[in-house]
Every structure is written in C-alpha cells, then in structure tokens.
Amino acid sequence: MNDAFGNALSFRYELLLPEIILAITAALVIGADAFRSELRLGRRILPWLSVLGLLVAGGVSLLWIDESSDFQLLLTIDNFTTFFRVLFIATAVFVILGSHEYVEKHIGHIGEFYALILLSTVGAIYMAAARELLTAYVSIEILSFSLYVAVSLARNDRRSGEAALKYALLGGVASAMLLYGLSLLYGVGGSTQYAEIGAALAGGAPGMTLPLLLGLALIIAGLGFKASAVPFHMYTPDVYEGAPLPITAYIAATSKAAVLALFLRWFSGPLLPAIDDWQWMIVGLSLASMALGNLIALQQHNIKRLLAYSSIGQVGFMLMAIATISEVSASALLLHIGGYLITNLAVFTAVIALYNRTGTEEISGFRGLAQTNPYLALVITAGLFSLAGMPMLAGFLTKFILFQSASQGGYLWLVTFAVMMSVLSLYYYLKVIREMYLHQPDGDPSRWRLTPTGYLATGVLSLGMVVVGVYAAPLYTMADRASRVLF
C-alpha cells in the first residue's frame, strides 16, 4: 500500500498551522465560556478572542502565497487554498464584528456560537484545499454540521429549532446522495485522488457511462443542495428565516463560497474530462435557480427570506461560470465570489445592526431608516444596488466579468437571461430601498447610532464594495493567481 502513495508523502505540518490555530482558538473560546465565572471573564472577551485567533490564522496563512505543496496528497496548499483561507477568515471576522451585540441578546450558547464559526471555517477552508474525496467529504460535513448546530442556537425562538431540524434532516439526505455519487465516482475512477480520477475519466472510462452519469447527477444534486440551487433549494428560505441573523449571513457567505470552491476544484480538475456529461446539468440548475430565485423574491416581505431567494438567484449566476468552466471563467468566478461576499456581508451587517434596534425582520421594519439612521440606510442601499449589479459597486463589475466569460463559453442565451433576471432583481431591492426613503418611521423618529464595531464593520465593507467596484484589478490579480493552479 505504500506504493499507492509512494514517496510523495509530505509531512509539513506547519502548512496546517492556520487551521490548527483556529481549532485551538475554538477550544479556548469554549473553555473561557465554560469557566467564565472562575476566570472572572466578561462575555465581551469571547468575540475578541475569536477575532484575535482569526487574525493570527489569517496572517499566518499569508506566509504561503505561491506555495505549492501537498500534504500527503490529501490537501494542497496553493494559491487557490490561500485565497479561500483569507476569504473565509475575513468573512468570519466580519460576521463576528458585526454581530457581537446581537449574539449577546439572542444567542443561547455564546461560547459555542463563536467556536462553531471558527470550526466551520476550518471545514470551509479544507473544502477548497482538498485534493482527495474523503478529505473533501469530511470537510463538507464539518461545515454542514457546524451550520446545523449554529442554526439552532437562537434563544427563545421556536423557529430556530425548526430550521435546524429541516436543515439537518434534508442535509442528511443530500449528503447521502452526495456520498452515493462519490462511491460511484470512486468505482469509475478507481481512486479517491482527484488526479487519478481525472486521469481515469480522461481515458474515457469505457463501459461505465451510466454509472458515471448517475454519479455526476448525484454529486451535483448533493452539492446543489449545499449551494441551494433549484430544485434542491427548498430548505433555504426556511433555514435563512429560522437561523439567527449572523448565521444567516454566514450561511449566505461562507457556506455558499465553500461549495463553489469545491465545485471549482472538482469541475476544473477531476471531472473536467466528462464536461459533456455534466455541463447541461449545471446549466439547468443555473437557469432554474436564476428564474425561481428572482421571481419568488418579488413576493417576499421578510428580509431574510428575500435575501434567501436573492441568494438562490445569485447562485444561478455563479453556476454559469461552472458550466462554462475555463481559466478565465474560474478567475471571474473567484472575483465575483470575493465581491459577492463583501456585498453580502455589508448588507447583513447593516441588517443585523437594524435588527438590534427594531427587533423586526419584516421589510416594513426598514421604514424611515433614512431619517433615523441615514448612514445605515446608505450602506443598505449601496449593498442592495451592488447585489442588483449597479456600476461603481462591486456587484456590477464582477458580475459583468462573470457574464462576459460565460458568454464566451458559448452560453449567450443563458447570459442574456441572466442579465434580464439581474434587472428584475432591481425591482425587489428597490422595494426595500423605498421603505427606507419613502416612508416615515413607524416608531421612534429620533436618530440613533451604531456600536463602534458596527461602524467599523459596515464602513470597511462598504469601502471594500466601492473599491472593488471602481478598481478591481488587485482583487482580480489575486483571483487569477488563485485560479491558475486549478487547470
């Protein structure tokens, strides 16, 4: 059995340092929470401890830019991994910064909340880093399990438990489908190594057409669930609504990006030879997601559900890049994911800040925000405009490049449809903006302020949104360097 792996084994444990730091931080956070009274610590320490751990891990991961190293052929630390390491760690930082006030008020188990964010970040990073099916699968489950638990953490809210049940049960079904697909892929490819699967598929896998197709369909169904692509999206709005707001933000950002990272690794590498077999499946999911997500979003009046359907639509856009996978569309997708994460987090951080004040998730709760907190109204407006793809904000440029690369991949009709759906989305985003600017506040019309961390998080994210929208070249360069290792 040594021969299977030969002498290629590398044991450079320092490459795993960022995740080790995250895990240790998670343990410290839980410990600090458990022995809070003994250690005479305030709860305020927990977010800062988590952020500290994240920042250290993020800093350490920057050591390996342009590294290209395998860890036992299970993981690879290359630019792609580093890109997502930094992205996920930054996402976690902003989710924590934007939500600690919310967490103190509405979360039952605060230590576990932060620990879960840290641990799920590990899972998300290894989804991007894996180069072997087993590692990838366990990473997927780490992320999923963390989210099942995190969704259930809201205190005194029956919806939270219900959302967790739906998420966990349906997630179990989805991972069973994924696993079955993986087992067929293993049978066809004869290995769990991406490289060897790719080699086997490039050989045409004679006599195994149907098992391969079945495996691909099951894998796409399983991953489609995790990415909430239609028709595997059904849980999404319920889970978004039932989850605590920061977790909704986290699902919309990290979970989605991690699945797309996995999509990129798989579909640009081992599965690329079978592109004729899966391309149309992804196109179908993309089309259905764009149409359904954007159309149903028109009818929503809860901001979380609205954003859930809008994120389904966004996944449709992103899947276009997977369907037309190429070096350019992979970089375009990475760029778009970066911009999307920034935008989404900006919107959610602002919504969380608003929720802390008003306690309602209905869109009517946005009434008169332009009067009571013009800054926050501006941030939300900019974020929604960016999601709708307005120029000078991240959303337009990244989406434009994404569409452009997809149109070059031969799917002009899909791109045309996507552009139209993108305009349709403006309609429901404007609904929210209208509430903020057009209506008088329902309650107290006096002005109010955010917490300092609220200002910090929304400010940095809004700035990022504008910077990416106006001058995307640096982020694109990073995305390009990250995607170049894929092919």
Partner: protein
C-alpha cells in the same frame, strides 16, 4: 489643456462631488460656491479644448476616426481575454456635447442658487449636480463601451436620485423608481449589445468596433441585432417609444434638474450614442430604419400628447420627447450633422423653457395652466425669455430652432420617403401649436386663479441671469450654421463641415423647404392664437370638441396603464404563479392532486401547507430523478 487632458473635466467635478457631499454642512452656503467654481473651471477648460480642437482641425492634423487620445489599462481579464480601459476620445460630436453639457450645467447651477434657496438638502443637491455632470462628461468623452456604460448608469443613478430628490413626496419616489426601472430595461439591451459587439470584435474600444463593423468583418444579421440592442439602450435613456413613459413623470424632480438632465443633457445621451455609432448604422439599414420610424412615431405621439397636457413642465417634457424623436428621425435618415445641430440648439432653448417654467412655479406655486394666466403683467422678463424659447421651439425664423429643424427637414427630404417628410413637417406644426397654447394660457389672457396671480412676483436676479443668457443663445445659436459665421470661427466650410463622422457635410439652406416650414409654423401659431387667446374656458373646450380623442391623449395613449397592467398582471403574476407552483403544485397538487390523479390510492384532496420536510425532500428527489432520466435518455 488640450484634447489629451480632457479627463481632467470629470475629475474636477468628481472631486467637487466628494467634498460637497461629505462636508456640505461644514462649508459656508453648504458648498454651493465650490460646485459653481468647479463648473466655471470646467467651462473655461472646455473652451481650451475647443480651441485645441479647432487648431487641430484647421491645421489639418485631426483624424475624425483617430485612435483614443488617452488610455490606460484599468483591468485586464485573463491573459488576452479582454481589457477594460479608461480611455478618452475627442472628436467633433464630443466637442459639441462638451460645450452643451458644461454650459447648461453652469447655467442651471447659477439658477439653482436662487431656485433651491432654503431647501433642507441644499448641499446634497449641489453635490448631486456635480456628480451628474461628472458622469455625463465621462460619458461623452468615453473611448470605450465599458466606460461609457459605467457613466451611462452613473447618469441614470444621478437622475434617479434627483427625480426622487423630494422623496418625502410619494409621487416623486414612485417617479424615480419608474424612471430607473424603465431606463434599466433599455440598459439591458445596451449591455447585451456591448457583449455582442465584444464577442464579434474582441474589443470594447468604440473606434475598433466601428472599424471592424465597416470592414464587413461582422455578420450583418448579428450586427443588426447588436445595433438594435444598442438602440434599445438609447431609446430608454432618450425616452423613445415605447420606453418614453418615464420622462413626463420625471418632472417630479426640482425644475432646474429637469432643465439640465431631462431636457438638455442626459436624455440626449441616446442621441449621442446612436450618432457615435452612425457609421455602423449606415451599414445596417434595417437598424437605421428602426431608428427612423421609432423616432417618427415618438415625435408625433409626444407632440399630440403635449397638446392636451395642462401641467407646464409635462408639456415641456412631452415636447422634449418629441424633439428627441426629431433627432432620431434625422439619425435614421443618415443625417448626423442635422441631429447634432438640433441637439445643440435644443439644449439651449429647452433648458431656457424649463428654467422659465421654474421661474413661474417659483413665483406662483402652481404649475398647471388651469391655475395660471396673465402672468406677463407680473413677470415681464420671464415672459419675454419664455416667448423667445417658445419661438425657438416652434421653429420661427431667425431663432435657433428654426435652423436646426430646417436642417432635419432638409435631410429627411433627401434621405427618407416623402410621407416621413410630410408627417414630420406636420409634427413641426403641432409643435408650434402646443407652444402657442402653453404660452397663451400661462402668460396671457386673464388670471384663472386670482390668489396665485396676486402672489406672483418676478424672480430674483440669480434666476433671471441664466434666463437672459439662455434666451440670447436661443436666439443666435442657430447662426453657427451660416457659412459666414463658420468662416469667422475659422472653419472654411462652415461649422457643418466639422460635424460629421463618415463624410463631410455642408449645411444647406433650401429656401423652398424653409419657406414651407415657416408657413407651417406661423400658421400653427396663428391657429393657436385664434383659438386660445380668448376667454378662460376656451382653454378646456377641446375636450368637448372630440372627447374620445382628447381622452386618448390625456391618458397618454394608455401606455402607462398598459405598463402598469403588465407589471401587475404579468411580472408579479408570474412571480405569483411560480410561488404558487412552489407551494401548491410541488407540495399540494404534487402530493394531493397527484394522489388524486392516482385516484386509486384513495387519498382525499385537501389543502396542505408547505414548510414540510417530506415535501422538500420530494422536490429534491424529483429534481434528481429528472436529471438522471435526461442523462440516461441522452445516451
């Protein structure tokens, strides 16, 4: 400062925008002087650019289809996939646009000092004006389509914010949303058109694309589609049928904004775009004909609607739509020169009319002709300037509109079928008719609302100044078409010689046609005078004369109702159907109805509610089964 440094112009105003938007509360007068100083500087620099251009042109070293005068790579995607540049391009139509935009913007800013005095968001208003002008200048100097599109959306955003400036007013916010979404529909076309052109040529650079299209490297059908999509964008921005509905509603914005954005500058962006691509339109005659007939239809429709409208600003808005239609007709007939000339003169007299109407509204707090009348006694200067603008619009000889409209009629007479010319000439008559009606009902006759009349007063000097300047220009701007004036300015063949893209064009003066259009205009004025100068109730008598027709016009050919129904029934209905499908078909019919279909299982049909895990799992299972079935079926 020459053509190479033209990017400085928007940069100055962008800086002004940032400073005024952020710090207007700290600055004296909320920073209005900064905006005006910035604008003055821009006008001065435009003059330098103009001189530079003139020098290059007269010196013979100006290449009308030359390359970008300034460019740097802004974002390179892939290794040779595409590059987004920041590039500027200056040629004759750019220069015309620069002059129009900067000059009208300066006038409007000066006017606004008086008009917007005491507004709560005074500083924000000037910041937005600066932002708009920066975006508009970026648009006209763009050398590539991406930059053009960004600026295009930028002016759209500025327009949205300015229409909704009084967002406390529900109608204003609704109008802003309507304008935004309607123009965005056109923008989709523009964006797809840009993508199509890029696919065909691999470039976003406008001159590269034009060269490729003219060399026949692009399939003609493909090119036609791309050009039609581009025109869809232009039609959205320039309020052409069937996307014209937003412009009248856009009058909810402050009146100076209407003068700047919705009369002189932003709405002509569509004309500018088509003019910019006119060498390509010349290659694809189907697309050119579409431009021609859409323009014609819009011109006629809008002119007839203006006849029955009672709101001063809306009359002017319809008039703008109609005049833009004239410009598109000229473009469709292949007369870029005439279109750009009309754009030039129209900017002056239409912004003059808007500012004049603002003066009236400022003085009386009313804007429907049913509440006005007799104002000439109270506001002599406003009346005088308004009449000058009206004469220009009506196309009375000597005034600016006469020359440019005549150019269009000449061009159409040459370049299009006779019926087109006849209809257009008739529409010119209608123009004179509604202009007469508007002026008579507003400034002449007896006051219809005594209270408003007594309250009225002449506007303060900051508002009158721009009116007088613009009135002067509305009188003389047409003279640039005369050979003598052109020679005096240094262009041997007259100004017309420089306003071309593919082939030089000399302004022609066809005495017969000029006489004919003069007769039409003066005749229409006479009819209008005879009809509306009488008693007050005659103003409203038209609706007795032909009630159905009147109703049709007042309801704007039912276009707005149609769209509302479309949005309500179709789009929201479609969303409703999908949502309904999600919960009824997938979850209930799929469960219950399906059970009934498979009736032998004997389940009762009863409404179930969704939110149920098994139903969600069923959706997943159906999705998976469908994929596998198709996959196996393909084998």
């Amino acid at each position: 400062m020459g053509m190479e440094q033209v990017w400085v112009l928007p940069a100055i105003l962008a800086g002004v925008f940032v400073v005024v938007a952020l710090f207007n509360r700290l600055l004296p007068h909320r920073g209005d002087f900064l905006a005006i100083l910035g604008m003055l500087a821009v006008v001065a620099l435009v003059a330098l650019v103009l001189l530079d251009f003139q020098g290059a042109f007269v010196g013979g070293h100006f290449d009308p289809a030359g390359t970008n005068v300034y460019a740097f790579d802004w974002l390179t995607i892939g290794h040779d996939f595409f590059t987004i540049q920041f590039s500027t391009f200056v040629d004759s139509i750019t220069v015309v646009m620069l002059v129009v935009v900067s000059f009208v913007a300066l006038m409007v800013m000066l006017y606004s000092v008086g008009y917007m005095h005491g507004e709560p968001r005074y500083g924000w208003y000037f910041a937005l004006l600066a932002f708009f002008t920066a975006a508009m200048l970026t648009l006209v100097i763009s050398g590539n389509l991406i930059q053009l599109y960004l600026a295009w959306e930028g002016v759209g955003l500025a327009s949205y914010l300015l229409i909704g400036f009084y967002w406390e007013r529900r109608t204003a916010a609704e109008a802003a949303k309507k304008a935004f979404i309607t123009t965005r529909i056109g923008d989709v076309g523009l964006l797809i058109g840009i993508i199509l052109l890029w696919r065909a040529t691999g470039s976003f650079d406008i001159q590269t694309i034009i060269a490729a299209a003219r060399s026949g490297a692009i399939d003609e059908t493909y090119l036609t589609v791309a050009m039609l999509l581009l025109f869809a964008g232009a039609a959205g921005k320039s309020a052409q049928f069937p996307l014209h509905v937003w412009l009248p509603d856009a009058m909810e914005g402050p009146t100076p904004v209407s003068a700047l954005i919705h009369a002189a500058t932003m709405v002509v962006a569509g004309v500018y775009l088509v003019a910019r691509f006119s060498p390509v339109f010349a290659e694809v005659l189907v697309a050119r004909d579409v431009v021609l007939y859409v323009g014609l239809l819009t011109a006629v429709m809008a002119a007839t609607m203006a006849l029955v409208e009672n709101d001063i600003k809306r009359v002017l808005a319809y008039s703008t739509v109609s005049q833009l239609g004239f410009m598109f007709v000229a473009l469709g007939a292949g007369a870029v020169t005439a279109a750009m000339f009309h754009l030039f003169t129209h900017a002056f007299f239409k912004s003059l009319l808007f500012l004049g109407s603002g003066s009236v509204i400022h003085a009386t707090e009313h804007q429907t002709v049913e509440q006005l009348g007799g104002l000439r006694r109270k506001m002599p200067i406003t009346t005088l300037t308004f009449v000058v603008g009206g004469l220009a619009l009506a196309g009375v000889p000597i005034f600016a509109g006469f020359w440019s409209k005549d150019e269009i009629l000449v061009a159409v007479n040459e370049g299009a079928a006779l019926p087109v010319y006849a209809i257009l000439a008739l529409t010119a008559g209608l123009t004179a008719l509604y202009t007469t009606r508007l002026i008579l009902l507003t400034f002449f006759g007896e006051p219809k609302n005594q209270h408003a009349f007594e309250h009225a007063h002449e506007s303060p000097p900051p508002m009158l100044g721009p009116l007088v300047i613009l009135a002067a220009l509305a009188t003389v701007a047409g003279f640039v078409a005369l050979d003598g004036v052109g020679r005096a300015l240094g262009f041997a063949g007259g100004i017309g010689e420089i306003l071309y893209l593919s082939s030089p064009h000399h302004f022609e003066f066809n005495a017969m046609l000029a006489l004919a259009s003069t007769v039409v205009a003066v005749g229409a004025i006479g009819i209008g005078w005879a009809y509306w100068s009488g008693t007050a109730e005659r103003a409203t008598r038209a609706r007795l004369w032909a009630p159905e027709l009147h109703q049709l016009l007042v309801r704007r050919y039912y276009m707005d109702d149609l769209y509302q129904a479309l949005i309500n029934r179709v789009i929201l209905g479609l969303a409703g159907v999908v949502a309904w499908f999600d919960k009824r078909v997938v979850n209930e019919t799929g469960v219950d109805g399906g059970a009934q279909l498979l009736g032998f299982f004997g389940y009762r049909l009863k409404f179930l509610q969704t939110g149920k895990i098994p139903n969600y799992a069923l959706a997943m299972a159906v999705g998976l089964t469908a994929i596998v079935l198709v996959a196996f079926g393909r084998q």
